[in-house]
Structures are given as C-alpha cells and as structure tokens.
C-alpha cells in the first residue's frame, strides 16, 4: 500500500501576524509548525504501516522552501520520503489552485517513484485558513472516492474501513482504493519522533517539484465532466498559470499554499476602503460587551437574579 500524506506548514499559534499596509501575512516572524490536523493524517498512515510493514508513506507539502521542515518532521515520524512542491508562481494560490497543483503532484510522484498511490491522506482542516475544502476538492480532481473527518482506519479486503466522526453517531464506511481520506482528532495520541530519525531526516535530500516538473506530467487532470458552457474551465495546461486568476481570489487563505497574501487589486481596494484584510483582535471586535456581573455572596441569590433577567428578556 502506498500512502501520500499531504501536510501544510502553518503558523504555530494558528494566527499569523498580519501586515496592515500590504494585506499579507508576516510569516517569517512566526514559528512554523505542521498543521495539527495533518499530524492526525500522518498518525493514521503510520498505524496502517504498523498493520502492514510493506506500507510506504510519502509526505507531500506545497509552500515556500521553508515548508521542507514539515516534510522532515514527517520523515522523523516515519514517512519514507517527502516531496516539496514550490514555485514562485504558486504564491497566493487559493484552494482551487492548490488542489490542481497537488493533484498533479500526486501523478508526478507516482511516475517518479514508479508506484500507484493507493490512498491520499489529508488533515480535515487547517488551523490558519480552516476551509476544510482541500481534501474534497483534491479527491474530485484525482477521481477518488472520499471520506472526510475520519477518526481511524484499517485495512480490509480491497480497501479500507474508515470511521467518520458524526454527531448523530459515528459512521463506519468501507472504501475501495485508491481513495482520499481527511482526518480529525481521534481519541488516541499522536506519536513523537525518535531522535535517530530526526537526525536522519535532517540530512536527507528531499525531492523538490517546481512548476516545470508538474508541466511535464501527463495531463491526467480530473474533472471528467467539466462542461464548457457552465464552467469554461481553463483545462488547457496543468492549470497553474490560469488558475490563480480565478477562484475566490488570493486573499482566501489557501491550504497548502504559502499563505494569505492579498492580491494586488485587493490591496488597492484596501487603500480606498481602509481594510481589505484587516487585523482584528477578537476581543475588541463585536465583543465590547462586558459582563454584567451578578454579585451576590450566595449562589442561590445570584441564580435567582440571573433567571429573573433571563426570563424577563425572554431568553429562557
């Protein structure tokens, strides 16, 4: 079984420092870590590898050169290798563009490694953009069936058994391969890397794919039924040059891309309007309401006062 795990580098606290003048993210000052949800995907892949030691795990990340560090994190955890997809033209990619690029990268990796990807694992969402869109979009572009918000999975005849988180009762699915799964936090902990593997990962040469490498890939793009009259899809080349021109603009925090960089015209717009991308502290925005503290030495009295207010305001 060959598993490609998509990982993204995100700011540690999940909130990048935003540069007001440019509408961009000052990423350099943030400590960059692997998106926590991607670690759950990585953990699920490692658990499959424990079930079947013949399982090969390839980490894949798209982003600036510095994103190589999250690939090394994955190798330290047990991934066999890691591919970095990076190119100046990918900067500011939105989810649509990223899913095009990653779908193509999967095909290039298959060719270079001489394998078929049996499964692509992703985090269910990122802590920066947080759109939860990358996995489902990538699945469609690859033509794979998908299960999102998976908690765990294991091998079964011809595929995998997957448990999906669901408020009305978790669902168990059987899914054939190849497939795409996105993972959320399961009840089991994620593992820590072994020191010897960390050192090994540090010295490892990681393959890098640029726009040209992806261009040479066979045109295996998904969208089998894209209809010209409706979608006028720029399905010509591998899509990269055309794609960032469309979709919800570059200001949409991308997953897998190098960050939340406001597009040129959004910046212009910021000039006329004050802010297109604005920094705001959650505590001051819409939240200037301050508790009316109900003071009473006695819990019963405080509660009586509270319920009186709530009933008179028709809240209860």
């Amino acid at each position: 079984m060959n598993i490609i795990v998509c990982v993204k580098q995100t700011p540690e606290a999940g909130r990048g420092e935003l540069d007001r003048s440019g509408g961009t993210v000052k990423r350099s000052e943030e400590r960059q870590v692997i998106n926590p949800f991607d670690l759950y995907a990585m953990e699920a892949a490692l658990r499959l590898q424990e079930e079947d030691p013949a399982t090969r795990i390839i980490a894949l990340s798209m982003g600036p050169r510095s994103a190589g560090s999250v690939l090394r994190d994955c190798i330290a955890l047990g991934a066999d290798t890691g591919y970095l997809v990076t190119d100046p033209s990918f900067a500011g990619s939105d989810v649509r563009a990223c899913s095009h690029v990653l779908a193509r990268a999967v095909r290039v990796i298959e060719k270079r490694e001489g394998i078929h990807a049996d499964a692509v694992f992703c985090g269910a969402k990122t802590i920066d953009g947080g759109t939860s869109m990358l996995g489902p979009e990538l699945a469609v572009r690859l033509g794979y069936p998908q299960v999102t918000y998976a908690l765990r999975c294991s091998f079964r005849e011809g595929g995998l058994t997957v448990e999906k988180e669901d408020d009305s009762g978790n669902r168990i699915y059987s899914i054939g391969i190849p497939c795409l799964l996105t993972f959320t936090k399961a009840s089991f902990p994620v593992r820590y890397p072994v020191i010897s593997r960390i050192l090994e990962a540090e010295s490892m040469e990681l393959p890098v794919l640029g726009a040209d490498d992806l261009d040479q890939a066979p045109a295996a793009s998904a969208l089998p039924d894209a209809d010209g009259s409706l979608s006028a899809a720029p399905q010509g080349g591998p899509g990269m040059a055309a794609v960032p021109q469309s979709g919800p603009g570059a200001a949409e925090a991308p997953q897998g891309g190098p960050g939340m960089e406001g597009s040129g015209d959004l910046r212009e717009y910021a000039g006329t309007r004050g802010a297109a991308l604005c920094v705001c502290d959650v505590r001051t925005r819409k939240l200037d309401k301050k508790s009316q503290i109900i003071e009473s030495p006695d819990a019963a009295q405080a509660v009586a006062r509270l319920s009186q207010i709530l009933y008179s305001d028709n809240i209860l």
Partner: protein, 358 residues
C-alpha cells in the same frame, strides 16, 4: 431567464426539511436582497434592479417522499424547488450528489448567480466536491458581505477568527458559498417565520430532474452507524441553547451541565481542556479546532475564555458565564456573569428552572 440563487436543501431522517436548512433559506433571502442592485463580480456582471429568486435543490431516491420537504422549502422562502431523483442518491455521498448537481446545471443550461450551502457535515463535503467538479471558486464559512464597486466582497474569518478577509470572485462562473449558521441575520435553531401561506406554497411548481450517472462513480459504502455519541439528541451546530463546560467543570460538573442542557432542550459543549481530559467527546468541542456555534443562549461554566474558545462562540446571542475567577477573560465577552463555583451555581439554576416551570 430569471436570475436565481440555488440553495442546497437537506432533510432530517423523517424526510422533513432540517432546521439548519430553514435557517439557510432565511440567510439566502437576505443574500438575494443584497445582490439586488449590486455588482456581482470582477467581470462587471450585475443584477441591478433585477429580482433574484431562490431555487431550492433537494436530492433523493424518490421525489414522492420529498414532497413535504419541497412544500416546506417554499413556505420558508424558496420561489421554486427542483428535486433531483436518482437511485444513487438514496444515501448521501459527495461523489454522486456533486455529479447530480453538475448534471442538473449542464442539462438545464442554467447559470445561477450563486449556489449556497449550509455547514452540516454533508454540505461541507458536497460544496467543495461540486466546486472542484465545476472548477468553480468556492468560499467556505462565509459570515457576511458588502457591496463593492467591482463586485461583492464576501467576508470570512481566518487564522482561527483572529483575522477577517474579504474575498471577491473575479470571474463570471457561478461561485459556491457555504454560509455560517447565524450569519446574515439567520438565527441558528431559532424558529424562522413562515413567509407564505400553505395555499400560496401549494401553487408553486416543483420540478423533478431524473439523475443517471453516465459512468461508474466510486463511492464509499456505509457499513453501519455506531451508537449515537451525542447528548440529549441535540447537535451543537444547530442547537438553540448550549451549556458548555471547561477546565473548572470536572466529571461532576459535566453531569450537572448535561442535566441543565437536558432541561433547556439544549446541547452540551466543551472547551479543549475538557475534551482532552476526556470529560466530553471531541464532537462537542467548541472553538478553533472544533465547532463554531451561534446559539440563542450560551451558558458556560468553568471556561476561562481563551481566544481559541472565544472564536467558536462569539456569535451567540446571549452569553452567560459562571467562573470562580472574576478576571477570567470569558467575562469580557459575556452578557451576564456569575462569579462563583459552578458546583454550587448550577444546582441552584437547575432548581430555579424546575420550580419556575412548576
């Protein structure tokens, strides 16, 4: 052709319209108002002065079973309803559902101004899958919009709610947008007023569209559904009332929280620490790495109010906080606060509510 916004309609297991869908129809109505007279996109598309109607889209194996839901959709604001019927749609899958949607668009040659989705688990799978099939742009978890000279700017939060981004669609292709519950004036879980009389609703045409995939579509198959993990039968995403606990609660505190939630027909929520300590399942986590909620009433107990938690609950209409620490950050975002021990306050509150109901 009349301009339309398409709205994905979801049903509950009894084939009635889900509560979240009724809210979405109200939100879609507000968005249609906003679009009237606005510049739609960077290509200069405009809906100036035009009337924009809502078309509800239902999917299922038998259109007959969805008649009541279609009627409800009209009562709640849809101008027309299309039911996509196909045996592959018996159970939901993003694979077949997105294919059916794409086929409907293709065969009817329609081009809605927008396609709107809610934030249910199914909608969160379907909307991006459809976006990829159409190669359209998508914006998820939209919380608002403002008209701009070169198109509507759609608002969403990023970086866990600490930043706001305004996004404009640059092309004429139909954008796909998922809408956060409680935004655009919609009230999560609250009763949305009926907009028409049943007699008026019955006169509205419901169109059937037969779906047949033109190829084999690989999809996962559901083996079984595990015992429900949710509390009180209420999902926190659409709950009207939520009672949540944090580090200060402990297992006994959560027993009280569940009791109070049950009494108020509400759902139970939890902070990250409470989930990590195993007092509540991850599905009840509210905050950056969990769910975003906007109930009418949010009662929290023993939650200090980290930024990560606040971004998940700040849209609640009324916030009541119980905390022993008078300087807890949660009090900065609350309407009412009681400084006290939840183990003493909650039993009183439960008693008070019971007695007021006789």
């Amino acid at each position: 052709m009349k301009k339309e916004i398409w709205v994905y309609l979801e049903t509950s297991p009894d084939d009635r319209l889900s509560a979240g869908t009724k809210d979405l129809l109200a939100q879609a109505g507000a968005i249609a108002q906003l679009l009237r007279g606005a510049v739609l996109n960077g290509k200069g598309g405009s809906a100036a002065g035009e009337d924009i109607g809502l078309r509800g889209i239902l999917t299922g194996a038998e259109a007959g079973r969805l008649e009541d839901a279609a009627l409800e959709a009209v009562l709640y604001g849809a101008r027309e309803v299309t039911v996509i019927e196909g045996k592959e749609l018996e159970t939901f899958s993003p694979e077949c559902c997105s294919d059916a949607f794409a086929q409907l668009l293709k065969k009817t040659r329609r081009k809605p101004e927008l396609i709107l989705f809610g934030r249910s688990p199914d909608a969160m799978d379907l909307a991006p899958a459809l976006a990829a099939r159409l190669d359209a742009g998508m914006l998820s978890d939209c919380v608002g919009a403002v008209p701009g000279p070169e198109g509507i700017l759609w608002e969403r939060h990023a970086f866990g709610g600490s930043a706001v981004s305004f996004v404009r669609f640059r092309e004429e292709k139909t954008p796909i947008i998922s809408v956060r519950p409680g935004s655009f004036g919609g009230k999560a879980g609250a009763g949305v007023p009926c907009l028409r009389t049943p007699a008026e609703a019955a006169a509205v045409p419901v169109t059937r569209f037969g779906y047949q995939p033109d190829r084999v579509i690989a999809r996962p198959s559901l083996i079984r559904v595990l015992e429900s993990a949710r509390e009180q039968g209420t999902d926190i995403g659409s709950a009207d009332v939520i009672v949540a606990g944090g580090n200060g609660a402990g297992p006994e505190g959560f027993a009280l929280i569940r009791e109070l939630a049950g009494l108020l027909h509400g759902a139970v929520g939890a902070s990250r620490i409470a989930v990590d300590k195993g007092w509540a399942p991850h599905s009840q986590l509210i905050g950056q790495s969990g769910k975003t909620v906007a109930p009418r009433l949010y009662i929290n107990c023993g939650i200090s109010g980290s930024v990560q938690h606040i971004v998940g609950m700040r849209d609640a209409a009324c916030v009541v906080s119980v905390n022993t620490d008078p300087r807890a950050l949660i009090f900065n975002v609350s309407d009412y606060g009681i400084v006290g021990d939840l183990h003493r306050v909650l039993p009183e509150l439960i008693r008070e509510i019971r007695s007021s109901r006789g």
